[in-house]
Symmetry: D2
Subunit: 152 residues, 4 copies
């Protein structure tokens, strides 16, 4: 994966997402793209009462949405604004009960093929001894019209 280079900046990703997913930030911008780099992206889920669960913890669905968004961001950052890339698989292990605080998600590409992109996302919180969740996910990349058939 030596040759991975992002071709979209954080600002370009934000602009694309705002147009493609206007509903996403209803009620406030909670999932924030903080940085992109070679094969990687870092996002933050800002703490909000909306994501709370009994016992003062963050809801699982909020963490799954963060992971899905993080994977989407790292894939788009490397292939460009292709709204039709779709998640085909997402596997999450919840590791520790999160505190009522921000969650940081570090997404990394494990593979960027012509048809499939695979990555993992590690989520953690300041002050926690170990990650709060770990995700692997696969994206299907739409075929480029006119391109010859290639390997996945």
């Amino acid at each position: 994966m030596a040759d991975l280079k992002p071709i979209m900046s954080v600002e370009e990703l934000d602009r694309f997402m705002d147009v493609a997913f206007p509903q996403m930030h209803e009620g406030g911008r909670l999932n924030v793209i903080e940085a992109v780099g070679p094969g990687a992206a870092r996002l933050r889920l800002r703490y909000s009462d909306r994501n709370l669960r009994p016992g003062g913890t963050i809801s699982g669905p909020a963490m799954m949405a963060l992971a899905d968004y993080a994977m989407y961001a790292v894939v788009l950052a490397h292939i460009g604004p292709v709204a039709l890339a779709v998640t085909t698989n997402l596997n999450i292990n919840f590791l520790r009960k999160p505190s009522p605080a921000d969650i940081v998600a570090e997404a990394k590409l494990l593979k960027l093929g012509r048809r499939l992109a695979v990555g993992d996302v590690l989520m953690w919180q300041d002050g926690q001894d170990g990650p709060v969740a770990h995700v692997t996910s696969t994206y299907s990349i739409p075929p480029v019209p006119g391109a010859s058939a290639g390997n996945a």
Copy 2:
């Protein structure tokens, strides 16, 4: 799994969820428990603009939240109102692009042990030829204080 019998009704589940997860239904009650039976529960995600994605499809996170809620419902229906049961793993395969319409989720227990419950959730829409998503998920059941250590 011949001996599985729900011990909570739809009404009891609703009442428990409303108290335990008051935030869940903010903005309208979209995830609805429709039925519980031996080892099974059926839920419905009501169609809403909030869950829309580009191309007129339902968002992946909305489907993951539905699956998580469906598993929680089928587990609680069989072990009783234990707010502290927590998802430890969720694996989703997105199979077909959903139409802008309701999604039905059929959750089934594959195992109900003393420490772990495992189930799968099949999601489909009226008129679709085949399911829109399939989920497997594991719940960790908190130890009963005073109970002797047993097998998972």
Copy 3:
């Protein structure tokens, strides 16, 4: 999935596998294809000392190999003898300790697209109350040379 129809018989699958995977049956034919049907295949892992683990149980890797072979069989049965179809994802939940006896695997297609096939495999043993394992798996189907680009 109303229109799924197998195009290879058990005998044709066996013949293809014997040529494509001569190593598979070294030391005895343990994974046996028993039946194929619309969107489905049934296989059997014959009990053998080779698959034993401490405590008189069947090894996890033997069950994963059975699941992988079952998915391969159900996919090939429906798309024809394409040696280059490859597993891209396999997720297994081990549910109950298997007895030292045969394991039956029922594989079902959840989706058969042009690029991806997704299915699940339920494994059980005679006399066990509930399945011993559950698997979901994705196969990547190689592009047909000359075919126009299509959806996954």
Copy 4:
């Protein structure tokens, strides 16, 4: 995870495995534990004709067995020789076609709880640009008789 420290050496692991899983090395010792460290273990699958598949690649089941063995090694190294720790979940993404050569597996613990251990395993080959497979897996740790009930 700052405080993880292995309590078994490679030699102690080998000795335990040889007694607990005598069948594992039938036909030659292919899965080799090379090193253990804080929260980590490195294993090697030695190349052998037995693991070959059409097209000169390594079989998927051989890679799943390697991952399962690697997780078992890293868990045991940190909790001691508990033969009854069992895999409850294994999720593998096959990323690149392996060459007919050794595969190295780096296993890392993401969580080591009293009831569950979760880790991931990255597999690669010398000269490949990127990993050949990525695995996450969960082990259930048997309750210690007489211990008080604790969190997972």
